[in-house]
């Protein structure tokens, strides 16, 4: 029982990082109908920036600065490489984002240098003991709290600000929004910047308690099944999907030793298995909007 609870708690922790990553993908998707394969590179860029900034600025300021800088970087990339592609097939744009990923990742890898780097977070691997002897890692609590705060912020932003309203309008119907005076270009830019910033935060928290190395970008790929199983255009879906994937992964990791026929480290592929199972039942994910097709 203790094992199950502890692995669920860990799963919620890592799942909230997946949720942040998923949110970035979904925000871009809602605005532009594109899956941005550049998110892994932005995630890595954010984490690497924090490793450089944490000495002079301290963890929290460094995190904010890195998120802003990565957001600006994403904004620049959107202006340069993605904006000219408006109205082009979405897969062409997706491949462009992949080119961006390759280019940005080479630069970031050069910044990592020869040694493993660290984000210098205040939690490390410390734990709290809950009643019943259950251990909970402080970093996982921090991840959940950060994610909750960011989600609340996003919710308020989309619900109560003019810009948020504009973004919702643009995602609902670009032309109608344009006709109402919404600058769809600004919406695109803002959604890339938001997604970049979220990726930076997610990357940093993925490295909390661990380290930053070239392989960190692989974490971002887990966000793909997350957004699909939550529903591509659903922000709550990304959050729920992230948590589900996180928990399933950790619970599988705990018990995979009892099922040797699954092969080594089966937990790594569980996100995809869960995704396939859910999609067979619900083809638009848990919360995705069912497309209404007219001929």
């Amino acid at each position: 029982m203790k094992d199950v609870l502890e692995s669920i708690l860990r799963g919620i922790g890592t799942g909230s990082v997946y949720a942040l990553l998923g949110l970035g993908f979904v925000i871009i998707y809602k605005a532009t109908r594109v899956i941005s394969f550049a998110q892994p590179a932005f995630m890595l860029a954010g984490a690497v920036l924090v490793t450089y900034l944490v000495k002079p600025l301290g963890f929290f300021v460094a995190l904010v600065v890195a998120a802003l800088v990565t957001g600006a970087l994403a904004l620049g990339v959107e202006r340069l490489a993605v904006r000219p592609m408006i109205g082009r097939p979405v897969f062409t744009v997706a491949i462009i984002t992949l080119g961006i990923d390759i280019a940005v990742r080479v630069v970031v890898n050069a910044l990592i240098g020869l040694d493993v780097r660290h984000v210098g977070d205040p939690w490390g691997l410390d734990t709290w003991k809950l009643p019943g002897g259950i251990l909970i890692e402080q970093r996982h609590v921090a991840m959940v709290v950060t994610t909750a705060v960011l989600i609340a912020g996003l919710f308020l932003f989309f619900r109560y600000t003019r810009t948020g309203l504009a973004m919702r309008a643009a995602s609902y119907d670009q032309e109608a929004a344009l006709a109402q005076g919404v600058s769809v270009g600004a919406v695109f830019a803002l959604s890339w910047a938001l997604a970049g910033a979220l990726a930076a935060v997610a990357g940093t928290f993925a490295a909390v308690g661990g380290s930053v190395s070239e392989s960190l970008w692989l974490v971002a790929l887990t966000a793909l099944p997350v957004i699909i199983l939550g529903g591509l255009d659903s922000l709550p879906g990304a959050v729920v999907g992230g948590l589900v994937v996180g928990v399933v992964q950790e619970v599988t990791a705990t018990y995979q030793g009892d099922f040797p026929w699954l092969g080594g480290n089966f937990s790594v592929v569980t996100p995809y298995v869960v995704m396939l199972l859910i999609l067979l039942v619900r083809p638009y994910g848990l919360f995705g909007t069912r497309e209404v097709e007219r001929v």
């Binding site: 998707y29 899956i35 394969f37 490489a81 000219p84 592609m85 082009r88 097939p89 979405v90 897969f91 062409t92 491949i95 462009i96 992949l98 080119g99 961006i100 990923d101 390759i102 280019a103 080479v106 630069v107 050069a110 790929l221 793909l224 099944p225 957004i227 699909i228 591509l232 092969g263 080594g264 089966f266 790594v268 592929v269 995809y272 298995v273 995704m275 396939l276 999609l279 067979l280 083809p283 638009y284 994910g285 995705g288 497309e291 097709e293 001929v295």
Partner: protein
């Protein structure tokens, strides 16, 4: 009467494969050059061109399901893997460390590899009838990850990651293609084999596209509901599309690593799938020649970008400094793809169309 472009006097002309004299001449010339290449360029280059030919077969396959039928599949690496391992197992050494049945006849293991992959494609197709667009893309991507887990674990078949196994050693009707002999070197033979396969694959794909099936595919791509309404059986044609596409992928996978003489289960990853998508987009989705051009470009591009730094003497070639030549070469690969798609979204095929139109009216191009 000489053929004029766009002047058709019969239905036969309209649907002909090569409808103008200039096309016939150009294709004929290209084929002559392609078949003469083994005696013109070095083995090293031939090996690369052979890989490009096989890659082109795979790209044509993806083009059928994605370019023609509009079902974006990121699972191509999965089908390539099935083909590669079916062929390697059939042709493998029965005494070896990995599963092998010792059937080296290429006419047996190549179609078998294609069929095995096609069966997998047909099994996957029901997903496509249920999902669309990006959902389908990411779900097929899931196949790649789950498939990678299986082949990494099944080391009796694959040799295991980092160890790998040998690809099939081809022999054609008893003639050994895998060794150098008095007439031809190994690379020359393999290149010719791969070129012939490419020509066959391209012809078949072109014919498929002009057939009833091809038209059904296009209808599905353009508007699947409309296609359904006019009587195209969506489930059936999507299944056919996945089956044919996977057959191509299986054949390509079987031959892809023959030149290199070794392959590793970790090769069949997301990146490989995405490269194939990039090929058909860069080539120009929906056309066979586009897929072939794209495959050649993506295969040869790293070779080209490796040459670039030597023209820029101020770039350091010491890997500890940044920026250095190796970083530049990798960045260039990414940037070229971006620049290319921004400036020519219709792909290489689009450039070709514009070139043709330019020279058609030359020197009065305005």
């Amino acid at each position: 009467m000489r053929n004029r472009p766009l002047l058709r006097t019969s239905y036969g002309q309209e649907v002909a494969l090569l409808d103008t004299t200039s096309k016939r001449v150009a294709v004929g010339g290209l084929l002559v050059v392609a078949f003469a290449l083994p005696w013109l360029v070095q083995d090293e280059m031939l090996q690369l061109l052979g890989v490009a030919c096989v890659t082109a077969v795979g790209a044509i396959g993806l083009n059928i399901v994605t370019g023609l039928a509009g079902q974006v599949s990121l699972g191509h690496a999965f089908f390539l893997a099935i083909g590669a391992y079916t062929a390697a197992a059939l042709a493998g050494d029965p005494e070896g460390r990995t599963i092998g049945f010792g059937i080296t006849e290429v006419l047996i293991w190549l179609p078998a590899a294609g069929l095995a992959a096609a069966v997998a494609g047909v099994l996957v197709a029901p997903l496509a009838t249920r999902l669309r667009g990006l959902y389908l893309a990411i779900v097929t991507l899931g196949l790649v990850f789950i498939g990678a887990h299986v082949i990494n674990e099944w080391s009796e078949l694959t040799g295991g990651p980092g160890v790998g196994r040998q690809p099939p050693a081809p022999s054609l009707l008893g003639y050994d293609l895998n060794t150098t002999d008095a007439f031809l070197t190994r690379d020359q033979k393999l290149y010719l084999l791969m070129l012939v396969l490419l020509v066959l694959a391209a012809l078949t794909a072109r014919n498929l596209a002009r057939s009833r099936v091809g038209r059904a595919f296009t209808a599905i791509r353009d508007r699947d509901i409309a296609a359904g309404v006019i009587g195209v059986n969506l489930a059936r044609y999507k299944t056919v599309a996945f089956g044919v596409s996977s057959f191509y992928a299986g054949c390509a996978g079987a031959l892809l690593y023959v030149g290199a003489g070794y392959f590793d289960p970790t090769s069949f990853n997301l990146l490989l799938s995405v490269q194939y998508i990039a090929m058909i987009l860069i080539g120009g989705a929906g056309t066979v020649s586009g897929a072939v051009l794209g495959a050649f470009l993506i295969t040869l591009l790293p070779r080209l970008t490796r040459e670039v730094p030597s023209f820029l003497p101020f770039i350091s070639n010491s890997p500890v400094e940044s920026p250095n030549a190796y970083q530049l070469e990798t960045v260039l690969y990414g940037v070229l793809i971006i620049v290319f798609l921004i400036f020519e979204p219709r792909g290489l095929f689009g450039i070709w169309i514009r070139l043709r139109n330019y020279w058609k009216a030359w020197p009065f191009s305005y």
